[in-house]
Amino acid sequence: MAAAIETQKLTKTYRSRSLGKVNVVDELDLVVEEGEIFGFLGPNGAGKTTTIKMLLGIIAPSSGEGYVLDKEIGDMEVHKVISYLPERPYYYEYMTGMELLKFYGSLFGIKDVAKFQALLEKVNLAGDATKTISQYSKGMQQRIGLAQSLLNDPKLLFLDEPTGGLDPIAHTEIRDLILQFRNEGRTVFISSHELSEVERICDRVAIINKGVIEQQGKLDDLLRGGRMEVIADGVSKELADSFKGEDVVISHHNNRVILDMPENNDVNAVLDSLRSKKATVVSVIPRRRRLEDLFVETVGRADSRAKGGKPAAGAEVA
């Protein structure tokens, strides 16, 4: 699969009076494949928006290379086939939904009213086309934002916190639209704090902390290595205690045992042992790690590594 985005040692350095030179994004190596939904995660100030701005060509990198759809970042040709929905976007409030699409369309030289109408229908705003943006709810503003981002039929969409601050219904609507984009063959790059949302829709993710990529890969691979839960009845206390081991949690009550163990433990050996003692295995449930666990673990590990004396790779972004 071809890469929609590829960066090599992409770095952004700012000068700060108090901190001196600060690498807000530090030697970023990122690969986003075509046709996937890619989640770009990180705590506040991690360098997510700065990375997006560099990829969009809005700000220039201090060093390193980056390619978007096989063209160097900043190439105006790329701007014809990409789009961007910023975090908490503001649109000229006096405009109606239709006027907004006409304005942004005009920047591409698009004047096709039927296309604007079709986009409004796609984001369920056809009935509100003549209302001004000031009359739109947050969810509607986000949907008109998505409509403007589809004006040029983009191959690659950058969405910065697309569901931030929305109610659950608006959340679902936006999520469905993003999944629809992937079905249409578009690549979607999402920067988000909504980890449950990212876990539901993303194919691959990268976790960035203080400008450095800490984890990157397929979601399934990153969340593998979870835990296994075994429940069995007719188990004596002695038998339950025989399963003690590193990172194994044993709960025993009324001859029922619940074993919570790492996935890489030999589950078959445990089951064989239980059966040989005439115990009844009630359930064996593999429990995948949640993205939230991975995120907290990764960021926590990176922070403690930085505090432990190793040089911090980055600094807070304003």
């Binding site: 969009l56 700000i59 105006m76 014809k80 649109y91 000229y92 405009m95």
Partner: protein, 261 residues
């Protein structure tokens, strides 16, 4: 070019809805409406006082609108993130900047035209002047519009690297210096006795925009001034404005292009 025009049109749409600008415009119109009454109190020619005061109000109001309009133009776009949505499209920074400037100039044209129509109507009703006098009164605001185009370029240039509040004082300071002090420096540069002072005056008068150039018809400020060739003067002022605006916008583009947004 279309991109610049589209950004300019949107800028006009936004400018004419900005409450702070509308309040300044309203105050200007209210001040204009009481001026005919002041003429009666004057010992000098009633017409001269009325026209001169109206011009002063129109000019001051326009200057305030031009400054408030331009100093917030770029910072607002960055703060509200609208600039990111626009620059992620096939729009270059210089196109964005020129579009915003053109929008500001067009919005000023609309507002100055509105005040001029109101001013001329008042003049007509209260002074009952001959038609050619009315036409003469109505032409001066065109010069003010050029002046405000230059002032907007100053505000726009500073807004590429200076915060709005500092920019406000800097731009208003430039206007006041260019309006009040520049003619004095100009005289000093031409007739000064001291060589050093003459040199300084020449630098100041050449570097700072001379906003006094635009106020030729005010009968209070320039009671005896007669311009031999009106058309030539106007065209040379247009040229002066175009050159100055061009330089300022070029500098603004260079600074804005390097700025982290």
């Amino acid at each position: 070019m279309n991109v610049i025009l589209n950004i300019a049109t949107t800028t006009v749409g936004e400018a004419i809805r900005r409450r702070v600008l509308l309040v300044i415009l309203l105050i200007g119109v209210l001040l204009l409406s009481i001026i005919p009454a002041l003429g009666i109190l004057s010992a000098r020619s009633e017409t001269a006082v009325t026209v001169g005061t109206m011009y002063a109000v129109l000019r001051g109001t326009s200057a305030l609108i031009a400054i408030v309009l331009t100093i917030y133009m770029l910072p607002n776009e960055i703060e509200r993130r609208t600039i990111y949505t626009i620059l992620s499209k096939p729009v270059q920074r210089w196109q964005f900047l020129l579009g915003k400037y053109l929008g500001a100039v067009l919005a000023l044209l609309l507002m100055i035209a509105l005040m001029t129509v109101f001013m001329v109507a008042l003049f007509w009703v209260f002074q009952k002047p001959p038609a050619e006098k009315v036409a003469e009164v109505a032409t001066q605001p065109f010069m003010y519009w050029m002046e405000m185009s230059l002032l907007s370029a100053v505000g726009m240039f500073f807004s590429t690297f200076i915060a709005p509040l500092v920019n406000f004082f800097l731009t208003i300071g430039m206007w006041l210096v260019g309006t009040v002090l520049n003619p004095l420096y100009d005289t000093l540069a031409k007739n000064g006795q001291n060589g050093v002072m003459k040199g300084i005056a020449q630098i100041v008068t050449n570097v700072l925009p001379n906003f006094a150039n635009y106020d030729t018809k005010n009968p209070i400020i320039n009671p005896g001034q007669v311009i031999q060739n009106g058309a030539l003067y106007k065209w040379s002022t247009v040229g002066y404005t175009a050159m100055y605006v061009g330089i300022l916008l070029l500098l603004a583009i260079v600074v804005f292009d390097r700025r982290e947004v």
